[in-house]
Symmetry: C2
Subunit: 406 residues, 2 copies
C-alpha cells in the first residue's frame, strides 16, 4: 500500500529510469575516458595545494568568485581558448557550468520555447536531441559530407524555413571532431556558416567538447574566434580532456547573453571543489596531459579500426577519425542497428544505434556509433569480434571476417 | 555592432543578472557558513585517501555507482538519516543531487506544470517560491504559530482548495529549523500533517536542509520517518553542515517516484569529486564536526540576538532559534523592509526583506531575515548597529537603542 504518485505526476514525463545494473562488459557508449590515464597523483597534489591555500572559501556560495564560477578556472579557460581555439575573451565572458549538458540546458532555457525550431547537423549528438525533444522543440538536420555540414544544404534549409515563415533559434554545430562523424570543419566553411548566420539572422551554438582531443592535422580557429558579430555562443568541457565524472563545463558568450544564462542558473553554483582542483591542476598540467591522452586515444582508435576491418571487412564503412573517442559506422542496409543494439547488449556489448544519433532517425537505421575512450585495447578487440558475431547471427552479416567465411 | 539577441530570447525570462560586485561587508543573507570552521585539513586528508584509492574511477560518468550518485555517500546518507532523523531507508532509495536546489527542481519537474497549485508555510524559503514562480505554479501559504504550520489552518486550506476543485500537488514544509522562523514542528503536528495529507490525497515534500544544525532540544523524527504510506518526499543537503560551495544534496523517496526524478536528471551526474571527498570525510568526522559547528553557530546566534536587543530594543521582535543560521524578525509596521534592504545595502549591510520570504509578500513588508552563519561575531555586532542606524535614518525607528534615545 502506498501513496498513488501516478495521480500527481506530470502527464508528459519520459519513461521512468531502470535500476542501474552496472556497466556492460564491452562498453562502447558514453563519453567515458581512459581509466589508466586519469592523472590521479597530480589531481591529489592539486587538491592539497588549493585546499590548503583556499579551503576556507568553501564557506561561501561561489567561493570568492561569484556566480560565474571560480575565477582562476575562468582565467585558465580564457587562456586555453586563446591558445588552442583562437578565441579572444576574458574571464568575465566565461560562465562555468556543471558539465556541458547544463550549458545546453541554459542556452536552450533562454532561447527556446515549445514549437520553436533549431538547425542541427544531420548526424548529431543524441543527448542534445533528447533535450530538444523534452522542450517540444523541432530540429532540422542539415546534410554533411566528409568536410562536415554542407553549406549549400545549410543555405537551402535556412531559405526553406524562411519561406515558411520560420526563423530558427540557432544553428547547433560541433565543428571540431564532430559527434558522431569525427569530422573537422575547415576555416572556409566556418566563415561561410558565419556569413549565412548573419544573412538569416540566426545565432550559432558552437559545441566544442571534443576539440582538445584532435590528434591529427591543425585545429582551425573556433567559429566564435572568426566571428565579428557576437553571433556565436560557445561551449566546452573538461569531461573529455580530464575526466567525465568531474562535472565542469563552460560557456563563452557576450554579456548580453551571458547575463541571461546566469539569471536562470539558479543552482547555487557549480561544484567548487571540482573547479578549484581543475584550475590548480590544469594550470601546470593541461597541455602535457592532453598531449599524452591524445596518443592513448589514437592507439585505441587504431585498435578499433583494425578490429572493425578484420571482423566486419567491407561490411563496415567509416572514416578514420582525426581525434575524439568514437567512430561512426555504416553497415549494409539490411542491418537494423536498434535491433542489433538490443541483441548485442544481451551479450555485453553496448553501442549507440544510429537512429538516436541522427536528426532523421530513419536515416540512421543501419548506422552506429562506437566509443573507444574507455575500454582497453583488448576489450575493444574482443567486443568488436563479439559484435560481429551477434550481427552475423541476427542479420547474416558480415558474411566474411578476417577473410574467413562465417 | 553585434547580433541582436533580444529578438531570439524567450519572452518570459527573468531580468538579466548584474555583474557580481563581491560580497557586502555585512553579509546577512544566503546560506553561507562559518569560514573558520570549514574542516580544511580533514577534507584534504579525505581527498588524498579517496583519490588514491578510487581516483581512476573518475574516468566514467557516475564513477562505478550509476546515476543515483556515489554509493558510499548514499550509504552514509542512509545511515545518518537513520541515526538522526529516524528514517529507515537504504542507498537504493537515495538520489544524490547537485545541491538541494536541484532536489527542488527535480521534484517540481516530475510533479508540476503551469497552473498547478502547491501548499507552503506562510513564511517560507524564498528560493523555493522563485522556482515555483518560474514554473507558473501558484502557492498558498498556511499560517504558522510558535509551533510551525498550524494544522487547523492546513485543514482549512486543503478543504477550501478541494471545494474549488483544486488538488494541490504537494505540501512543502521545512519542519525542523524552519526557514525563516527557526521553529521545530512537534511529533504530534507531524502526525497530524500526515493524516491530513492522506485524507486529501496530497503528498508532503519535506525539506530538512537545516535539521543537522539543531542545537537545542530533541530532534523529532522526520515526517518521512513517521509515514506509513510512502507519501513523503524528503530532501537534505551538505551545504549547511559542511560547506555550501560543495554542491551536494539528496532526495529520499520510494522507487516509484525516484525512478521519475532520475529520468529527468539528465545532467551527466552530480560532481563526483565532491561526493567522493564528502563520503570519505563524513564517514569519520560528520558527527564531531556538526557538534562543533552547532556550538559556533549558537554563539553567533547569541551575538546577533544581543546586538538586536541592544540596537533595536523593543522595536525588533523575534523568537530565539533553536538551531540554524538565521533569525526572523518583525519590525514596527512603519518599516518597509524592502526599502530598508536597499538603503542598508548602500551601507554594506545585506538582508532578506520579508516580502521575499513569505507566500503573501505584503504580510512580509515589515519583517526581515538575518543570517549569522558566515559573519564573525564582530561583524555581526557592527552590522546590526549599522542596520539600526540606517533604519532610524529611513524610518525614525528604532527610537531608542541601548536605552539611549537616538
Amino acid at each position: 500500500m502506498g501513496f498513488d504518485y501516478q495521480s500527481v505526476l506530470r502527464p508528459d514525463l519520459p519513461p521512468p529510469a531502470m535500476p542501474w545494473g552496472g556497466f556492460p562488459k564491452y562498453n562502447f557508449i558514453g563519453g567515458h575516458n581512459d581509466a589508466a590515464n586519469v592523472p590521479v597523483d597530480d589531481l591529489i597534489a592539486a587538491a592539497n595545494a588549493v585546499l590548503k591555500r583556499e579551503g576556507a572559501t568553501l564557506a561561501t556560495y561561489g567561493l570568492q568568485s561569484g556566480p560565474q564560477g571560480y575565477r582562476p578556472l575562468r582565467e585558465f579557460v580564457a587562456a586555453k581558448l586563446n591558445q588552442r581555439a583562437g578565441i579572444t575573451c576574458d574571464a568575465d565572458q566565461v560562465l562555468m557550468t556543471s558539465g556541458s549538458m547544463q550549458s545546453l540546458d541554459l542556452v536552450n532555457g533562454v532561447l527556446l520555447g515549445a514549437g520553436d525550431t533549431v538547425i542541427v547537423e544531420a548526424e548529431t549528438y543524441g543527448g542534445a536531441m533528447k533535450h530538444l525533444q523534452a522542450l517540444g522543440v523541432d530540429y532540422v538536420g542539415v546534410a554533411q559530407d566528409g568536410g562536415g555540414m554542407r553549406m549549400d544544404a545549410l543555405a537551402e534549409t535556412l531559405q526553406a524555413l524562411k519561406d515558411r515563415g520560420v526563423r530558427p533559434k540557432y544553428i547547433y554545430t560541433i565543428p571540431t571532431v564532430q559527434n558522431p562523424t569525427g569530422v573537422v570543419v575547415s576555416r572556409e566553411r566556418r566563415l561561410e556558416m558565419l556569413r549565412l548566420a548573419g544573412e538569416f539572422g540566426v545565432p550559432i551554438f558552437e559545441d566544442d567538447c571534443y576539440a582538445d582531443l584532435l590528434w591529427e592535422g591543425e585545429r582551425p580557429p573556433a567559429i566564435q574566434a572568426l566571428d565579428q558579430n557576437n553571433a556565436v555562443v560557445y561551449c566546452g568541457s573538461f569531461s573529455k580532456s580530464i575526466a567525465p565524472a568531474l562535472r565542469v563545463g563552460y560557456v563563452v558568450a557576450n554579456w548580453e547573453l551571458l547575463s541571461r544564462l546566469l539569471s536562470i542558473k539558479t543552482d547555487g553554483g557549480t561544484g567548487a571543489l571540482e573547479q578549484m582542483v581543475l584550475a590548480e591542476y590544469c594550470h601546470d598540467h593541461f597541455n602535457a596531459h592532453v598531449g599524452a591522452l591524445q596518443g592513448v586515444l589514437q592507439a585505441k582508435c587504431a585498435a578499433m579500426i583494425e578490429a572493425l576491418e578484420s571482423n566486419f571487412g567491407t561490411a563496415a564503412s567509416f572514416s578514420r577519425p582525426k581525434g575524439g573517442i568514437f567512430i561512426w559506422i555504416t553497415l549494409p542496409e539490411a542491418v537494423d542497428t536498434t535491433a542489433l543494439a538490443q541483441a548485442a547488449l544481451a551479450e555485453g556489448v553496448a553501442l549507440n544505434p544510429g537512429a538516436e544519433w541522427m536528426a532523421d532517425a530513419a536515416a540512421g537505421r543501419h548506422r552506429l556509433r562506437l566509443c573507444f575512450g574507455h575500454p582497453t585495447i583488448e576489450t575493444i578487440r574482443d567486443g568488436v569480434a563479439k559484435l560481429a558475431e551477434v550481427c552475423h547471427r541476427e542479420f547474416g552479416l558480415p558474411e566474411r571476417s578476417a577473410n574467413v567465411e562465417r
